[in-house]
C-alpha cells in the first residue's frame, strides 16, 4: 500500500468535514435573518442555556477566583508585589478565565445535550417529520439555539466575572489579610471597560461555537444510539478545541487594539 494513502485519506476527510461545517454554519446563519421565528423555543433554550447553567458556571467562577488570588499571592510575594493580587484577579477573570471556563463548562453541559437531543430527533425521524410539516429544521432547531447561545453566554460570563472577583476578594480578605476597602479600590482602579467588553465578545463567539457544534453533530448523527453517543462526544470535543483556538485568535486581535 502507498504510505501516502492514509495521509491523503485523513487530509481529504478533514477538509470534507471543514467544508460540511462551513456549509452548515452558512445555512444556519442565513436562516437567522429570515422569518419565521419561534420565540417560545428561543425562550426555552435561553432558560436551558442561561438559567440552568448558572450554578455550574458560578461554582467554577468562585473557585477559580479564590485559587487565582492564592496563586498570584504566592508568586507576587516573592518580589514584594502582593498589592497586585486584586489587579491580577480582576484582569484574569474578566479577560480570560470567565469566558473560557464558562465556555468550556457550558460546552460540557449544553453542547452535549444539544447534540443528543437533535441526534435522537434525527434517528427517530423527528427531523424528517418537521420537513413534512412544512417546518424548516434549521429555523426550528438550529436558529433558536444559536440565538440563545450568543445572547446567554455573555450574560453568564458577566455574572461569572462578578462571582470570580468575589471569590478573589473573599480569599484576599479572610485568608491573605488584605484591607477590604483597598482591595476593592485596587480592583476598580485597574479595571477598564474594555476588559469586560472583550470578555463578553469572546463569550458571544463561544456561544455561537457551542450552538453550531452541538447542532451540527446532532443533525448529521447516524446509526441509532451509538451514533447519538458519538455525536455528543464530537460536539463537546470540537467545541472545546474551537473555543481554545478562537480564544487565542480573539485575544491576539484584542491585544493589537490594546497596544
Amino acid at each position: 500500500m502507498n504510505p501516502l494513502q492514509p495521509i491523503g485519506h485523513v487530509t481529504l476527510g478533514f477538509l470534507a468535514t471543514i467544508g460540511r461545517i462551513t456549509m452548515f454554519s452558512g445555512i444556519s446563519l442565513s436562516h437567522l435573518f429570515r422569518p419565521p421565528y419561534y420565540p417560545r423555543i428561543v425562550i426555552r433554550q435561553m432558560i436551558e442555556i442561561g438559567y440552568f447553567s448558572l450554578p455550574v458556571v458560578g461554582l467554577t467562577a468562585i473557585f477559580t477566583g479564590m485559587v487565582l488570588a492564592l496563586q498570584s499571592y504566592t508568586g507576587f510575594a516573592r518580589f514584594s508585589a502582593e498589592g497586585a493580587v486584586a489587579n491580577v484577579v480582576v484582569l484574569s477573570i474578566t479577560r480570560e478565565l470567565a469566558p473560557v471556563l464558562a465556555g468550556l463548562m457550558v460546552t460540557g453541559r449544553i453542547g452535549a445535550s444539544m447534540a443528543a437531543e437533535i441526534g435522537t430527533m434525527r434517528v427517530t425521524e423527528q427531523v424528517d417529520a418537521l420537513t413534512t410539516l412544512s417546518t424548516n429544521p434549521f429555523k426550528y432547531l438550529v436558529v433558536p439555539r444559536i440565538i440563545a447561545g450568543v445572547t446567554m453566554l455573555p450574560i453568564l460570563v458577566f455574572i461569572a466575572d462578578i462571582i470570580g472577583v468575589l471569590g478573589g476578594y473573599l480569599v484576599g480578605i479572610y485568608e491573605l489579610g488584605f484591607n477590604p476597602a483597598n482591595y476593592l479600590q485596587n480592583t476598580w482602579d485597574f479595571l477598564e471597560s474594555f476588559d469586560v467588553v472583550s470578555g463578553l465578545i469572546k463569550a458571544a463567539v463561544f456561544g455561537l461555537i457551542i450552538a453550531l457544534m452541538g447542532c451540527y453533530h446532532g443533525y448529521y448523527s447516524r446509526g441509532g444510539a451509538q451514533g447519538v453517543g458519538q455525536a455528543t462526544t464530537y460536539a463537546v470535543v470540537s467545541a472545546s478545541i474551537l473555543i481554545l483556538c478562537f480564544n487565542f485568535i480573539l485575544t491576539a486581535a484584542f491585544f493589537t487594539v490594546d497596544v
Partner: protein, 237 residues
C-alpha cells in the same frame, strides 16, 4: 442505486399500497416524494407539478397538501400530545385555543380521549403513539396521506385497529393515500390497489383483491411468505 426506473401512478382518492421486502427502497421512495431526499434523475409529479428539487416556500406549499404517518410515529418528545397533533396548525399561526380544540377532535377521531392531550409522547404506548401520529397526519385534512409501515411493531389486534382507523380516516378526509408495508394483512385491508417494488422497480401493480392471483412469481413468493422462489434475501453468513 436504490430506485431504478420506478414508475407508479396513483389516482385521486385512491389508496395505493406498495409492498416489498426490507431494504428494497420503499422508504426512499416516500422520502423522495416528500423532498427529504433528492433523486439523481427522474420526475415526481403531485397534481401535475414536478416536485423534484423544489425548495423553500414552493416545497412547503406542496408539503402542505400532504400528511405523513411515520413508522415510529416520530412524535416530538419536547411537546405535549396536543401540540404534536396541532403542530402544523400552530405553525400556520392559528391561536392555541382553537388549535387545541381541533387537536382534541382529531384525537377523538382516532379513538383517543382528551385526557391524554397534555401527556408527553414518552408516556404513551406504541399503539397510542401511532394513533397520535395518525391524528397529526390528518390534522389539516390533507389531500394526500402517506403511511410508512403503519403496523410495524404492533400486536395483531392493535394492527387491525390502526388499519381500520387508516381506512376510516382516509375516507372521512377524502384523501389520496400511499402506504408502504410488508404486512400483507395491512396491505389487503387499507389498499384499493397494491404495487410491489423489487430491485428498485415496480414489478406488479393491480387491484388489491387480485394480489393472490397475479401470476408473478416474485409477488406470489412475497405474498405467501415462502423462502423458496426467485427472491433471494441478502443474508450474511
Amino acid at each position: 442505486m436504490v430506485l431504478d426506473g420506478l414508475d407508479l401512478d396513483i389516482g385521486t382518492g385512491e389508496s395505493m399500497v406498495v409492498i416489498g421486502g426490507s431494504g428494497v427502497g420503499k422508504s426512499v421512495m416516500l422520502k423522495c416524494i416528500l423532498g427529504i431526499l433528492t433523486p439523481d434523475s427522474g420526475t415526481i409529479e403531485i397534481d401535475g407539478e414536478n416536485v423534484v428539487g423544489l425548495t423553500g416556500s414552493d416545497h412547503d406549499r406542496v408539503n402542505a397538501k400532504i400528511g405523513m404517518l411515520f413508522q415510529g410515529a416520530a412524535l416530538f418528545d419536547s411537546l405535549p400530545v396536543w401540540e404534536n397533533v396541532a403542530f402544523r396548525l400552530l405553525g400556520e399561526g392559528m391561536n392555541r385555543k382553537q388549535a387545541k380544540e381541533i387537536a382534541v377532535a382529531k384525537l377523538a377521531q382516532v379513538g383517543l380521549r382528551p385526557n391524554i392531550c397534555d401527556l408527553a409522547p414518552a408516556d404513551l404506548s406504541g399503539g397510542m403513539k401511532k394513533r397520535v401520529g395518525l391524528a397529526r397526519a390528518i390534522a389539516t385534512d390533507p389531500e394526500i396521506i402517506f403511511f410508512d409501515e403503519p403496523t410495524t411493531g404492533l400486536d395483531p389486534i392493535m394492527s387491525d385497529v390502526i388499519n381500520n382507523l387508516i381506512v376510516s380516516c382516509v375516507r372521512e378526509v377524502g384523501a389520496t393515500a400511499l402506504s408502504i408495508t410488508h404486512d400483507m394483512a395491512s396491505a389487503r385491508k387499507i389498499g384499493d390497489r397494491i404495487a410491489m417494488i423489487y430491485n428498485g422497480k415496480i414489478i406488479w401493480n393491480g387491484p388489491a383483491n387480485a394480489v393472490d392471483k397475479t401470476g408473478n412469481d416474485y409477488v406470489d413468493q412475497f405474498v405467501s411468505g415462502r423462502t423458496d422462489g426467485p427472491i433471494r434475501m441478502a443474508v450474511r453468513a
